[in-house]
């Protein structure tokens, strides 16, 4: 699946998007965040406070307990500041 990062999450991870292949026991968005956190320093920094991270699956907002099975694109970003 494709993962996309925005704003300071993107800066900390060090890339805007990537293809990932998480192990099958990673079932939810929250578990995916924990898995990503273990991939390196940038990820650990980006996700150091998982409570503030917002997520979307296939361009819809979701909560951390949302299941990732079948997702084509998952995005992680800070709270939004548009308008």
């Amino acid at each position: 699946m494709k993962v996309r990062y925005f704003a300071w999450v993107r800066e900390r991870v060090g890339k805007a998007e990537e293809e990932i292949d998480p192990p099958p026991d990673i079932a939810t968005v929250g578990e995916l965040v924990a898995w990503l956190t273990r991939r390196g320093e940038g990820y650990a920094y980006a996700f150091e406070n998982p409570k503030v991270i917002r997520s979307a699956i296939d361009k819809m907002h979701v909560q951390a307990n949302a299941r990732i099975e079948g997702a084509r694109e998952i995005a992680f970003f800070p709270p939004m500041t548009g308008g």
């Binding site: 925005f6 704003a7 979307a56 361009k59 939004m80 500041t81 548009g82 308008g83």
Partner: protein, 158 residues
């Protein structure tokens, strides 16, 4: 209902958008426009510009969902939402919301509802650009405000 949703780098002209929405119509009795403008200061300090990052397809979809929710809630005859991205200088427009209805209450309420949700749910992120003496340009992300969440939440409970 006439709906226009646009994300663009270029400036927009609010008067042109209002004219486009109302042209040839005699059913509209109330029209509200809201324009969000880039201030020259953020947190008491002067800024050089705002840089707006967005999640392209999701931003359009999310705005469309909220326009749909506004349409379900109030009797609207038209809605236009334009949100810019990229570098925006102080004094330039950032966002435009236009709502039209037969009577004023629906247009006022829907415009406020749309702005409250744009601030907290539409995937845009503002970065402030400040000019600093030594290194030239200093960039920092704007933090989300609790007041904006509170403003959006009140629509869920009323």
């Amino acid at each position: 209902m006439t709906t226009t949703i646009r994300l663009q780098r270029e400036p927009f002209n609010a008067a042109d958008e209002v004219a486009a929405l109302t042209r040839g119509r005699t059913d509209i009795g109330a029209l509200v426009t809201f324009t969000g403008i880039c201030r020259a200061e953020e947190g008491g300090e002067p800024i050089a510009a705002l840089n707006l990052e967005h999640y392209p397809d999701m931003a359009e979809a999310e705005i469309a969902r909220h326009v749909g929710a506004a349409e379900a809630r109030w009797s609207l005859l038209g809605a236009t939402v334009i949100h810019r991205y990229g570098r925006i200088a102080p004094g330039e427009d950032i966002v435009l919301v236009v709502t039209a209805s037969s009577h004023r209450q629906a247009a006022f309420a829907a415009a406020e509802f749309l702005m409250d949700y744009l601030k907290t749910r539409a995937p845009f992120w503002k970065q402030v650009e400040k000019t600093s003496g030594k290194s030239g340009v200093e960039k920092s992300w704007v933090e989300a405000k609790t007041a904006d969440d509170t403003a959006a939440d009140r629509w869920a409970s009323s």
